[in-house]
């Protein structure tokens, strides 16, 4: 009988020693960056003892939670404003706010659309709902509005718009075939189980840049290390592979 008890104590000891210099980071991440972030985290955890726990959510929710003491070490927001506001309230470690990616917008459909010269023209030619992220809440929604305004289609298409709370819900509306078209984050185009019949990357000049910023909220060597990793070579490779531009 004494052996299992000794074993148990031994494991406890090993666990304690093993974790002496390893930290656990809690990282809040915007939904459009969740896929690349998972990939970056698994690459990071292979070369570091630190572990990272991701919490997916909208920037607005993370903002409200952080104002009320949410225990996140880092925030990767879908925009720059949320991080800026948190910085104003001194909820961010000074000097740690940085841009990690510039988002790209894509127009997608599950149905084959005949290629036309002016790709946005397809919206006016074909009937059906158009899913967009909420322009008041989500940076991809704001960029969609600017794009459609730029093309002179915003007023005309208004009655056909359905509003998702963010780009990920706009994607859901299209993927479930409830909306014919959708403006989504280009990062979703790399989702393995999703195949669109029509994809068009919106040229960057049609909307203001979607500047996605991050910051450290609770300072630690591990947080600084992970921030370094993200902006470093392997982080950047993953970020660009999901269709983002680098800052």
């Amino acid at each position: 009988m004494p052996f299992p008890a000794y074993n148990f104590l031994f494991y406890i000891l090993v666990l304690c020693v093993g974790q002496a210099d390893a930290a656990e980071l809690r990282v809040a991440v915007a939904s459009n960056f969740y896929l690349p972030m998972q990939q970056i985290v698994s690459a990071y955890e292979q070369q570091s003892d630190n572990t990272i726990k991701l919490s997916i959510g909208s920037s607005g929710k993370h903002y409200a939670q952080l104002q009320n003491g949410a225990p996140f070490d880092m925030l990767f927001s879908a925009d720059s404003n949320t991080v800026y506001l948190l910085e104003q309230q001194e909820l961010v470690i000074p000097g740690t706010r940085f841009t990690y990616a510039i988002g790209r917008l894509a127009l997608v459909s599950m149905e084959r659309e005949n290629d036309t010269e002016a790709k946005l023209g397809v919206l006016a030619q074909r009937a059906g709902r158009i899913a967009i992220a909420n322009p008041m809440l989500a940076p991809y929604g704001r960029a969609t509005q600017q794009t459609l305004q730029q093309a002179g289609l915003w007023a005309q298409l208004q009655p056909r718009l359905v509003i998702g709370e963010n780009a990920s819900q706009a994607l859901q509306f299209v993927a479930s075939r409830n909306a014919r078209f959708g403006f989504v984050a280009a990062s979703y185009l790399s989702m393995p189980k999703l195949s669109f019949a029509f994809v068009w990357l919106v040229p960057d000049w049609m909307h203001e840049p979607i500047v996605q910023q991050a910051a450290i909220l609770q300072d630690s060597p591990a947080a600084r290390d992970f921030a370094q990793f993200i902006v470093g070579e392997s982080g950047a490779a993953v970020i660009t592979s999901y269709g983002y531009h680098l800052p």
Partner: protein, 218 residues
């Protein structure tokens, strides 16, 4: 308060009213069957009726979205993003809140009054409307209030299938959520207080009426 937010409250009331009426029409025969049936597998139906209590509303909404979308595959226009779609979602979401009080009220009425009515020559339908309905009136009130109130507080289902269209699917809970997400906490508070007062007033009114009804009934 902004007009769009006020309209969202009106839409919520309309959704709750329509859904409650549909639920009373569909839920009454179902509750009656649940109260009277001796079928040995009746418990399975009881469990199915209670399922919306367990299932997270966003999950329910997600499957409704998939269901509506699969209709689109057959060339049917989707019910997502429409008021009708929200009513269907609400009816499923609030089903147990209407069926369970009705079922319990019908069980409480029991068999003897029905036998008496039958002896006096009443058809089952006559017996139901002139004996059971008056006796089960508190049950109907409770069912209607709970169905109405629960639909007013509906959020997850609408979030998933609504598409946030003003006047059509942008109900009060969605409007509050949008204000919170947009960091406009003042507007969110105003809407929330209005919704809270309305709901409390309504619940207080009906429970007050119900209390009197019980006293009269006794």
């Amino acid at each position: 308060m902004m007009l769009t937010d006020f309209n969202a409250v009106l839409l919520t009331l309309k959704l709750a009213l329509v859904s409650t009426l549909v639920l009373l029409v569909l839920g009454t025969p179902l509750a009656w069957w649940l109260a009277r049936s001796r079928w040995r597998y009746r418990f399975l139906v009881d469990a199915a009726v209670a399922l919306p209590l367990v299932l997270p509303p966003t999950v329910l909404g997600f499957y409704l979205l998939l269901a509506f979308g699969s209709g689109g595959l057959m060339g049917l226009p989707t019910l997502a993003f429409t008021f009708t779609g929200l009513v269907i979602g609400s009816v499923i979401y609030s089903l147990p809140f209407v069926v369970q009080p009705l079922r319990d009220a019908f069980v409480a009425v029991g068999t003897p009054p029905l036998e008496a009515a039958a002896t006096l020559g009443a058809t089952p339908l006559q017996a139901f409307f002139s004996v059971v309905v008056p006796m089960a009136r508190p049950g109907f009130l409770t069912a209607a209030v709970l169905g109405f109130a629960h639909t007013m507080g509906e959020f997850g289902v609408v979030l998933m299938i609504g598409g946030n269209i003003p006047g059509e699917t942008r109900v009060a809970s969605i409007a509050i959520y949008e204000r919170v997400e947009g960091l406009d906490y003042v507007a969110a508070h105003e809407l929330a207080v209005l919704l809270l007062l309305l709901s409390f007033g309504l619940l207080a009114l009906v429970y007050g009426l119900n209390r009197r009804a019980r006293v009269v009934g006794a």
